[in-house]
């Protein structure tokens, strides 16, 4: 089951590796991914679409929040939100 994770975090070295590592250990493959720095500040936004069941997804959210650099995690299983995320990714990366 696909889920979107929108992560607000301090834009610090190693952030991507830490986030990816958590998804890898939970065997939640990342299907798409977008990263951008926020305007005028040290805060970054990551949007990931990954495969995870409800239990792993709950655990992932808590583990993400445990990372020192992560400020906020918003999850959505809503198909429209996932489509919107993917559309946004395509738009941003076009």
């Amino acid at each position: 089951m696909q889920e979107t994770y929108e992560i607000k975090a301090k834009d610090a070295p190693g952030l991507l590796a830490r986030v990816e590592s958590l998804f890898r250990r939970q065997r939640a493959p990342i299907r798409s991914f977008f990263f951008e720095g926020c305007e005028g500040g040290p805060v970054a936004r990551l949007v990931l679409v990954a495969e995870a069941d409800e239990e792993r997804s709950n655990l992932l959210q808590k583990q993400l929040l445990r990372l020192e650099d992560v400020i906020e995690v918003v999850r959505s299983r809503d198909a429209a939100a996932i489509a919107q995320s993917e559309f946004t990714l395509e738009e941003k990366t076009a």
């Binding site: 070295p13 190693g14 830490r18 709950n58 808590k62 583990q63 929040l65 445990r66 020192e68």
Partner: protein, 576 residues
């Protein structure tokens, strides 16, 4: 900040190096000991530590440095500090950091890195230690600006100690250490920047209190989080007010007095049968700073099938991670228990206590010391009886002796049983004892070790001798990797392979290091040897005890199996 730290800091500051600023920051953080090993990239920092009030212990392997820092932290409650050079020095820390991560131990690891001009170019002794340790630290940093070094270290101490404690690593390239920085302003006192303890919300508390007050077969399941939080007194008050029996995990040993009539001892794979039966039959498990590890639950689907769960933890990740929490309490154990105590009443548990008493009578921890061959349980319990009035702090290594120690070394106070729980790291015990003795110089420190595990970090004995640390090292020598042998015995049809050890003479070895040494081959020699070792106060003393190589550790259930597969005592002995 200590008076010594204030005096050191009060010295006039001029422009200085980042290495010196780092050394000053360590003093400001109240660091008293560093466990380290120097090397090329670390030399600027070692030079800055020259003349520092901090005592540096020259460990003979960096794994030992990390374990010593863990021992210091677990005994004192303050972060332990280890220091290594780049490349192999740093990678040798990895096992100790992984151990500290799983056991939630506050450790600050400082590593030097190759110069920034060589970073990413496979320079001599370059290793990406920040990349390697991302998954086994709470956080880590590669510091690239001299001006950021001291502030990062200050932040690292905060992260290591706050919330659920754990290890952090700060990696600093050699040229950054040598870089000039402006003199530091006033230091923040770490006590002033630490977050306040987290409280549980009122609704969750009332629900949990109602469940506790109305349970019929409740058990308090107490883990290492209680010790980290300093909540042992609150657990005692809760248990005595409600008369709920208490079982502790390996990491929770000492959080509740094991000589108290309400104590069930340790639970889990090698825990007491009655603790495991009580958990299985319980209708309410009150988990305090414990994480439902697989060595506790066995087969999860059949674990405690009748129980609702109250789960209190500082780390929200742990709540519901393994077993659904019916009454989650997110917060600091000490703070939340103080909130909870006035809300709970004593449940009606008379029948429950009768049942537990019957189980205790049916399946007590048991061994029979007969004949000339020493049973390891006897060696451990004899020393416990001889020293219990001196409030010793014991460290163990990993294996059969660790489980027998967990069973027969009764702990009545927290921070006195220091062992490698989550990672199960052979080689932990001796260097950890060095750290403990540094942190608690007036306490009797005993390391219970096995012959296999002692040989993994025995070079730390050189440091203990060098520093005149009067630790007592008991090597229980069964000439085997005992726990592996036990599994081959029970689950691989006795096909023993790669477990027999042709050991050195440990007493001679200890003497060669400069320690006092005693040999024990027969049961009647134990007490005199222990007495002689306990009388040595100016250097380490090792007691080499030859024990039965055929003895297995019971109770036991096979990994991943349910409690009904538990073997309470040795089936072969029963038959005979």
């Amino acid at each position: 900040m200590t008076a010594q730290a204030r005096a050191h800091q009060a010295q006039p500051k001029v422009r200085t190096t980042a290495a010196r600023a780092l050394a000053d920051e360590l003093v400001a953080q109240g660091v008293t000991h560093i466990f380290g090993h120097p090397g090329g990239a670390a030399l600027p920092l070692y030079d800055a530590l020259h003349g520092s009030p901090i005592r540096h212990l020259l460990m003979r392997h960096e794994q030992g440095a990390a374990h010593a820092a863990q021992g210091y932290a677990r005994a004192t409650g303050r972060p332990g500090v280890c220091l290594a050079t780049s490349g192999p020095g740093a990678t040798n820390l990895v096992t100790g950091l992984a151990d500290a991560m799983l056991d939630s131990t506050p450790v600050v690891a400082l590593t030097a890195q190759v110069a920034t001009s060589l970073l990413g170019r496979d320079g001599f002794q370059e290793a990406d230690i920040v990349g390697m340790t991302q998954g086994i630290t709470k956080h880590n940093w590669l510091v690239l600006e001299p001006e950021d070094v001291a502030a990062t270290v200050r932040y690292a101490f905060r992260i290591a100690a706050m919330g659920r404690p754990g290890p952090v690593l700060v990696d600093v390239p050699r040229d950054v250490l040598q870089g000039e920085v402006a003199s530091e302003g006033p230091y923040d006192d770490p006590a002033n920047i630490a977050d306040g303890p987290r409280r549980a919300d009122a609704v969750s508390l009332r629900r949990a209190a109602f469940a506790i007050s109305n349970a019929r077969r409740p058990v308090l399941y107490v883990g290492g989080g209680v010790i980290s939080s300093g909540a042992s007194a609150e657990v005692r008050r809760l248990a005595h007010k409600t008369r709920i029996p208490v079982t502790t995990t390996l990491m929770g040993k000492g959080a509740f007095p094991e000589t108290d009539p309400l104590s069930l001892g340790m639970l889990g794979m090698h825990g007491t049968a009655y603790a495991n039966w009580a958990m299985h039959e319980s209708d309410l498990i009150i988990a305090l700073g414990a994480r439902f590890d697989d060595r506790i639950t066995g087969k999860l689907a059949t674990f405690a099938p009748h129980a609702k769960i109250v789960h209190l933890d500082i780390d929200p990740v742990e709540i519901g991670k393994i077993r659904k929490a019916d009454y989650p309490l997110h917060g600091d154990a000490k703070t939340v228990l103080r909130q909870l105590l006035p809300l709970v009443g004593a449940p009606h548990t008379n029948g429950w206590h009768d049942r537990i008493a019957a189980w205790k009578a049916e399946a007590p921890l048991h061994y029979e010391q007969t004949g000339d061959v020493i049973l390891p349980q006897f060696a451990i319990e004899t020393l416990w009886k001889m020293t219990r009035d001196r409030r010793p702090i014991v460290t163990t290594d990993v294996g059969q002796h660790q489980m027998w120690a967990a069973q027969f070394w009764k702990c009545d106070e927290p921070n006195t049983f220091i062992t490698s729980g989550g990672l199960g790291t052979m080689g932990f015990g001796l260097p950890a004892a060095i750290g403990v003795q540094c942190g608690m110089p007036d306490r009797l420190v005993i390391n219970l070790n096995g012959d296999g595990s002692f040989q993994q970090t025995m070079q730390a004995m050189a440091t203990a001798v060098e520093e005149n640390l009067p630790i007592k090292v008991i090597v229980l020598d069964n000439q085997n990797l005992g726990m592996v042998r036990q599994w081959q015995d029970l689950f691989y049809e006795r096909r023993f392979f790669a477990v027999e050890l042709k050991n050195p003479d440990f007493a001679k070895l200890a003497e060669a290091f400069g320690a006092a040494a005693f040999r024990v081959n027969r049961p009647e020699e134990l007490v005199p040897a222990y007495e002689a070792a306990l009388a040595v106060n100016d250097r380490p003393a090792l007691v080499h005890v030859r024990t039965d190589g055929n003895e297995n550790c019971y109770p036991m259930w096979p990994a991943g199996q349910s409690i009904d597969t538990m073997v309470v005592s040795c089936p072969r002995k029963k038959k005979s």
